[in-house]
Symmetry: C2
Subunit: 270 residues, 2 copies
């Protein structure tokens, strides 16, 4: 699978990726996962806005613009013979010597890959992670950084118990998000989602749903969440209904349909 | 600066590092920073024990042993013409397709670099980070993972205000560690350090100091910390005295000398 690094299409085996890249050594970078279809990237403007915000938080200079990303995705589609798929954009602070402080003149790294979309997925059976928590005190909760190990650990543990996905609580034991998605829940008949300050990543799909459906944005305690009758996960690749949380059945109902319409997606991707 | 990847010495420009390596894409890995001098790595057994523990937490198979690491460091010293320095070992889960779940048969990546030691450093002027917190609820607080962005953000912000290093509090507003070191403080005449459950990484130097000086291992609130008369930072490269915290003078005194003796180091490395 060929990929794009700093303006060049390369095979992974001939990668010019420097092992001193701070993305590799320290997780010092950001990423975006985007839907590529019909020759364009869905909501590229929103993804780039979030990337710019994250780059500002980390102090990484972002000189690449939308005008470069779409042709790069097209080139990857051509060379990898894919009509559509998932573009992953990775931006790092670039190579550096040992130590936490960045080099005086960082040269950021940008990598794009295009991979096939996965098959539509059935409604998820979900657990609440006993393994780790989202840190709502960290600015990383508000940006899509490369520091993804908490979500990985939670997901691996959940899978070991047979679950499809996992909900992460914050340090106050309130709902933050799933390992890969934003969480919407119908509680006492009202569509709700946690605010960013609770450790919820400002997801692109989450933003679209909020703008169109005007849900209540409020902290969700475990007691609140236990009263949820419908739960829907969203991310930039689409939405997923939740069938069960900790074995308790939920309805796949009106909230799912409304959110699906809001996102204008036809399938149920991962 | 040549480096060692999966058994081969290579130049960074001819790196076989795959851009789909999960260390690069998700921070899915671990590292150790070790002192190389006189042809051997100080406390290699302790570093490898911590690495094995971290690998077990992440579920990464670690087949490399001490017997391989020392010759690799020697080869790097020879080719890079360094008599001593700092070995950085990076272990990742290896390449993978998009998504959080690891591939069925991961092929872990191991990278070693050897870089010069930095010059001895004067006692540090330190601040307490207003930017972020250690997440003591996460298993990542107990292992040396690649997810280092919280410490990077805290350090960059502290430097922007003229400080040499920065103390990270946990989510309960208690002392966890500095951006690169364990923290020892003399409070009410007693040498103290926070326990691991407070978000303190089980540092190799910290372990040596605990074994030899038997400090009180106890949570340190901001009120406790304000009464500290001496503060010393330790990491695998040595120790550093703290001259001031938030502008308030401390003594560089007996605790520094005791910890220095416990670590048997002659200089004050970074």
């Amino acid at each position: 699978m060929a990929l794009w690094i700093n303006g060049k299409i390369v095979e992974p085996t001939e990668s010019p990726l420097d092992p001193t890249d701070r993305g590799f050594t320290l997780g010092d970078g950001l990423f975006e996962t985007m839907r590529y279809e019909g020759g364009s990237i869905r909501h590229l403007d929103r993804h780039m806005a979030r990337l710019r915000l994250g780059a500002a938080v980390l102090g990484i200079e972002l000189t690449w613009t939308e005008a470069l990303i779409t042709p790069a995705a097209e080139a990857l589609a051509r060379i990898n013979q894919l009509d559509d798929g998932v573009v992953r954009l990775t931006l790092t602070r670039g190579p550096g010597m040992r130590g936490l402080l960045p080099p005086p003149q960082p040269k950021p790294t940008l990598v794009l890959t295009l991979q096939p979309m996965q098959a539509p997925m059935i409604p998820a059976c979900v657990t609440i992670s006993p393994v780790t928590r989202r840190n709502e005190f960290s600015p990383l909760s508000a940006i899509k950084s490369l520091n993804y190990l908490d979500a990985i650990l939670a997901r691996i543990e959940a899978r070991s118990r047979g679950f499809d996905d996992v909900i992460l609580l914050n340090t106050q034991n309130r709902v933050a998000e799933s390992s890969v998605s934003s969480v919407f829940a119908v509680i006492d008949g009202v569509l709700c989602t946690p605010p960013q300050q609770e450790g919820a990543l400002p997801g692109v799909a989450r933003g679209l749903v909020i703008e169109q459906l005007n849900p209540q944005i409020c902290p969700i305690s475990l007691a609140d969440f236990a009263r949820a009758t419908q739960v829907v996960f969203t991310n930039a690749l689409g939405l997923r209904a939740v069938a069960k949380i900790e074995g308790v059945d939920l309805i796949v109902g009106e909230a799912y349909t409304q959110i699906k319409d809001a996102l204008e997606v036809r399938s149920i991707p991962k």
